[in-house]
């Protein structure tokens, strides 16, 4: 409490009910005090609070979340098998699910599957994390400083539209067939999309939050870190998801095009090898592996984070998630 002394009061607010003149009926007209003292007020408020707040709901494991996607997967595989068994196309052009599964087994036996998934995943994650570290301060700066945003905003949006594959030839000329080429292409894909996600997240912050920050005496830096960044988190997370998708795609594109040199053997390389050998089962296996990694990252990393974020802000009610 502040140090200033309380007002000199002739009559305390907290007065026992029996101190009132017996003759005067207490009229609850909202024009006068409606409670009879501190304890009465506390009791009334606590009653109203419990009436007005929802009882906490228990979260159970929802099996339909697990079973429905599995069922969808089974249906798709069955349709695939059915199509193959019709024999419309030659088996070596359209391999069936079992052929691809067999191929995956062979790749696993060779150690190629583990090597390619590990190489790609490692590059994707490292490239993505570096992109986040670069894009976050830049995005925050652009969102907070109007002249900077006007100057560089269109360029950043443009970079997001430019397919990052377009950078592969340039990167090969600059960096040769090294990991630097792969990372460069990943950065050019991920960084603009994370920056844009953060900026659009900041744009959607209710103006009231900034006013509160100002009134509470936040400095520019405090405003950015304590108010703007957390307020923009849902949009930022959307940007991160998209940034990851762009990293992964750019990485695959780079790996398919740039093969050899000191570049390790990734999933894109595996895909390219399948193409060179005209081995459709390898190609399909590589495509499915690329897809599977993408799905797993969404399910294990972004899904839970997003859900937690939305639930804690009360934004999950009524959504179909």
């Amino acid at each position: 409490m502040p140090s200033n002394p309380p007002l000199v009061e002739e009559e305390p607010v907290v007065e026992p009910a029996d101190a009132k003149p017996a003759a005067r009926e207490h009229v609850h007209a909202a024009l006068t005090r409606t409670s009879t003292g501190h304890e009465d007020l506390r009791e009334l408020e606590s009653g109203l609070d419990s009436l007005q707040s929802d009882a906490a709901r228990k979260h159970r494991i929802d099996w339909s979340r697990l079973l429905l996607p599995l069922a969808a997967l089974v249906v798709l595989v069955l349709v695939w098998q059915f199509y193959v068994s019709l024999g419309v196309k030659r088996r070596d052009l359209v391999p069936g699910p079992l052929d691809v599964l067999g191929q995956l087994g062979i790749l696993w036996g060779d150690g190629k599957l583990q090597e390619s998934v590990w190489t790609s995943l490692q590059r994707g994650v490292v490239g993505f994390l570096i992109s986040v570290a670069i894009a976050t301060p830049v995005g925050l700066l652009l969102a907070q400083v109007a002249p900077l945003r006007r100057a560089f905003g269109p360029l950043i949006s443009g970079l997001q539209v430019l397919p990052s594959v377009a950078w592969v030839p340039a990167a090969i000329i600059w960096f040769g067939l090294t990991d630097a080429t792969v990372y460069f292409v990943v950065f050019m894909g991920a960084i603009p999309s994370i920056i844009n996600g953060l900026i659009s997240g900041v744009d959607q912050i209710p103006p009231q939050y900034r006013r509160v920050g100002t009134v509470l005496g936040a400095s520019r830096l405090q405003m950015a870190l304590q108010v703007v960044l957390p307020a923009a988190l849902p949009g930022y997370l959307g940007g991160l998801k998209q940034g990851w998708a762009f990293s992964w795609r750019s990485l695959m594109a780079a790996e398919i095009i740039a093969v050899g040199g000191t570049i390790g053997f990734g999933l894109g390389s595996l895909l390219d090898q399948g193409r060179t050998l005209s081995d459709m089962a390898v190609v399909m296996a590589a495509i499915l592996l690329i897809l599977a990694v993408g799905i797993l990252i969404e399910l294990l990393v972004f899904g839970p984070i997003e859900k937690r974020l939305l639930r804690s802000r009360g934004l999950l009610a009524g959504s179909t998630r």
Binding site: L7, H28, L31, T32, T34, D49, V212, A218, Q226
Partner: protein, 241 residues
């Protein structure tokens, strides 16, 4: 005297003045209700007192450390719990970590929310949110507290209770409160003085004192409410075409 307004005027661009020749003296520890119809520039006046906007003319004297502000919507940060919202206000003021925790709990107790500190704003009712917001504005520890229609969006039962609550906290903390409202009954219920602002341009046209008698005697309070309402309507009627 924490707040002195002298011939205060405000216009935005080349438009008609929003405020014109506003004069008021607000004593330390006083509870002043600022009453007016829509378009009287009540919020602009509060913003000027808070230092969020500059007046176009006139002079004003406000406490050098500024003012605490409470908005119509609670404006709590949804990513923080009730306690963390209060702690943030303390943190931005430069209060140390250990002290923040204790102080926040103390403020939560003051608004009777001692056990709801770990709830998120969306888990609280409108009245509870406003109380957290009140605790947050008290955490700013400024002598002057500006309130911009803080109870306007609440249901009547909750509002009546919060009137009692605010009066109790005002007396406990000795704050100077400037309370903006368009509700005559609310102004009479809370203010020691009611200042009526005219509309377009805003100007203090009349003021009434509300005594301790009015706090307990509904008849007396009702009478004063009637008088002020009549004067307010007169002011509104001037704008009829």
């Amino acid at each position: 005297m924490p707040v002195v307004l002298e011939h205060l005027g405000k216009r935005f661009g080349d438009g008609a003045p929003v405020l014109d020749d506003v004069n008021a003296n607000i004593e330390r520890g006083e509870f002043v209700a600022l009453l007016g119809a829509s378009g009287c520039g009540k919020s602009t006046l509060l913003n000027i007192i808070a230092g969020l906007e500059a007046p176009s003319s006139g002079a004003l004297e406000v406490p050098s450390d500024g003012a605490a502000f409470m908005f119509q919507d609670a404006a709590l940060f949804p990513w923080l719990t009730a306690r963390e919202n209060i702690e943030l206000a303390l943190k931005l003021r430069g209060v140390g970590k250990a002290e923040r925790r204790a102080k926040a709990q103390e403020l939560l107790e003051l608004v009777h929310l001692g056990s709801a500190g770990d709830k998120r704003p969306h888990e609280l009712s409108g009245g509870m949110r406003q109380r957290v917001s009140l605790a947050r504005s008290l955490a700013q520890d400024r002598q002057l507290l500006l309130m911009d229609e803080p109870f306007a969006a609440l249901d009547a039962i909750t509002r009546d209770l919060l009137h009692d609550e605010l009066e109790r906290i005002w007396k406990e903390t000795g704050r100077t409160i400037v309370f903006v409202t368009h509700n005559v009954r609310e102004a009479v219920r809370l203010g020691q003085r009611v200042l009526l602002l005219s509309s377009r341009p805003g100007r203090v046209v009349q003021e009434w004192a509300v005594t301790e008698e009015h706090r307990t005697d509904a008849g007396l309070a009702g009478q004063l409410t009637g008088v002020i309402t009549a004067r307010l309507r007169e002011e509104i009627r001037r704008h009829a075409k």
